[in-house]
Amino acid sequence: MTHPPTDEELMAHADGALDAKRNQEIAALVRKDKVLARRVEMFRQSAMLVKRAAGPLADEPVPDALRKSIEAKISASRPESPNVVPFRAKPSVQKVQRPWALPLAASIAAVVAGVAGYSLRDGDTSGPLQQIAVGQPLPSAFAEKLAAAASGEEAQLNGGRLRIVTSVFDRDKALCREFEYDLPAADTVIAVACRTPASSWLTKLAIAAPASETGYAPASSTTAADAYFDAIGASEPLSPADEKAALESLR
């Protein structure tokens, strides 16, 4: 004999938030009892009304003054020096440490302001960041590799080594790929680029990290890309099978 539903359970049933067993029990009770059914319907309708009344507010354009003021705050929180703020490689990253505060703030700031991407080094006119520039499409040599190579693969490109790290989908279901690009005697660039409907790859994130002796960027430096993926609400990294399918569907 199942116990009678509370008001909150009827609401949770309307919202699909009950565990399967209790949901089934309540569904059965609701089918037999018109009063319960009307109560569930009331919860459904009131949620729908609230959503319809307030929902469209997010479709309003953000006032210029507000957007500008926030962008100004973000600029103020960036470092003054035009030089690269280096990643300090940590042997293990258990929780967020001080040196990570800037990249995380950058990601958060970028998402809050709706800025297309964020780069730690502005005004860099030479080196790998010239090719991998936030807000710009990647050169075709990079784009070709991103459209075909599996994660973990490496390739020689324009005198440097490209290594693709992972693939995710962003909230709009566009394919995004994290990769590293390493020129000899230069910082390694860790970047994220997403495929656009126009078939280009737009750079969203580009960070310069000091290369270690082996020439590979330390594993912990990919934390910033993870933080960026979290900030934009991206999916979990794609499995090799899913990634293969996603790349095939690009052709």
Partner: protein, 157 residues
Amino acid sequence: MLPRLRRFAISLCGSREVADDLVQTACEKALASASSWTPGTRFDAWMFRILRNAWIDRLRRTRTEGIVEDIDDHAELASTMMGADAETNLFLKSVWRLIGELPAEQREVVLLVCVEELSYGEAAETLGVPMGTVMSRLARAREKIALGAGIERGARR
């Protein structure tokens, strides 16, 4: 994210001007405490929490200063809301006013769950209350709106 943050702020306080103020304050606080966000957790819930706390701070300040929290703010704003046809418009505006008439603790819950689509658990974490509290406030809020909108006349169980 910025439009959603602004929507949450406007719905909480009923005024676009105050909302823009709250959004700015929230962004300042977010930038200042960026290292307190843990990657892997929901970023939007974290930002909503910061904004909501800024709103609560403001409520407390305006109350102690003797300024009455304006229910009429929502009513005034209602006349500027966009809508489909005239009838739907009127109806949704009245729903909007009802949202404004909810006690603060019910309003914030119904906005987080029904508009910003957080789960009960996420809303509970955002507000720092138990999930049971979220559910009971949410149920009360939705019942009030249903009664006020004339779509329900039943008694609660």
